[in-house]
């Protein structure tokens, strides 16, 4: 039953990524050129509602659909891993014009050369796993 929920949320997510054009290489380029409000509006309005909603969940101690406690795990404190990792991710995001969610969306949309980006992202994840202990975190 829960699996159907995950699947429906994923389908909804894929449709939104595609129809919002957040999965378009051109929109990502335009965002980094600061020549449109579109991507900033998407991220900004999602965040505006996100911040309010998370505060409400915390203050009212809201429970999940299944009556479980909702816990937000704080991110580990650090600077270097977030800054270095973030910069590397940003370089790839702008070059391939897609972040991980849209990569999957674009496979479904039929832009099959995105599979090369997908393969690369698996390799990149694997390389990180191999080098993790040698990197500053």
């Amino acid at each position: 039953m829960r699996s159907i929920g995950y699947l429906l949320i994923g389908i909804f997510f894929g449709i939104v990524m595609f129809k919002s054009e957040a999965a378009s290489w051109f929109r990502i380029y335009e965002m980094f050129q600061f020549q449109s409000f579109h991507m900033y509006g998407i991220i900004g309005s999602a965040l505006f509602l996100g911040v309010i909603g998370v505060q409400i969940i915390k203050r009212k101690n809201l429970k999940s659909f299944y009556g479980e406690r909702i816990s937000f795990i704080p991110k580990e404190k650090s600077f270097s891993r977030y800054m270095y990792g973030g910069i590397i991710f940003g370089l790839g995001w702008a070059l391939a014009g897609a972040c991980p969610g849209p990569i999957f969306t674009l496979i479904g949309a039929g832009f099959l050369p995105i599979l090369i980006v997908f393969l690369g992202s698996l390799l990149g994840t694997f390389f990180y796993g191999l080098l993790r202990k040698k990197l500053p975190h």
């Binding site: 994923g10 595609f18 659909f65 909702i70 580990e76 790839g92 391939a96 991980p100 479904g108 995105i114």
Partner: protein, 185 residues
């Protein structure tokens, strides 16, 4: 209902993304796509090469189902909910891209100079896509999240680490587009 076949404006798309995050929170999970890449590495046997991949991937099966949905959603969005796939970016952006050699700017969803098998056969596009993917996968895991995990979920929870990561995303993106693109294209 005709609007549904048009590109969705930011004030529709952004709130829908927030709803997706809250649905996942209320179902007892969280919104984060790049962790699936680690799960897939483990499924492919990477746990024998590095202990980073040594975890019970079945605990992440729910997120793989979300991925399967995202693929189906992409199919529906492109084939059933769109009449015209071209992305109407700013005309100024179009002319910059044309100067860089992207003649498909303003007329396609993705640049045909990178995302067609014909282009990929020219090796340069192949290398660009592969390197782009490697940077995405490496950077997302190093930073502990991508756009969904940090820029949406983490910032919604007012996490300073996520703010640092998002600033990093933008430094990397701006360096790529403004300094490296003129060298690459």
């Amino acid at each position: 209902m005709e609007w549904i076949f048009e590109p969705w404006p930011w004030y529709v798309s952004g709130p829908l993304i927030a709803i997706i995050m809250f649905l996942l929170i209320f179902i007892g999970k969280g919104f984060g796509m790049s962790s699936n890449l680690r799960t897939m590495c483990t499924m492919c046997g990477a746990d024998s090469k590095a202990d980073f991949f040594d975890f019970d991937w079945k605990s992440q099966r729910w997120n793989l189902i979300v991925v399967a949905g995202a693929i189906i959603g992409g199919f529906i969005g492109a084939n059933l909910l769109s009449n015209d796939l071209s992305v109407a970016i700013n005309p100024d952006t179009v002319s910059i891209l044309e100067d860089l050699g992207f003649s498909s700017a303003g007329e396609a969803y993705l640049p045909t100079e990178l995302f067609t098998w014909e282009a990929v056969g020219g090796i340069k596009a192949l290398i660009i896509l592969l390197v782009g993917g490697i940077l995405i996968g490496f950077g997302a895991r190093y930073a502990g999240g991508c756009t969904s995990g940090h820029a949406i979920s983490g910032l919604s929870n007012l996490q300073l680490p996520s703010l640092i990561a998002v600033i990093g995303f933008f430094i990397g993106g701006l360096v790529m587009v403004h300094l490296l693109f003129p060298l690459i294209f």
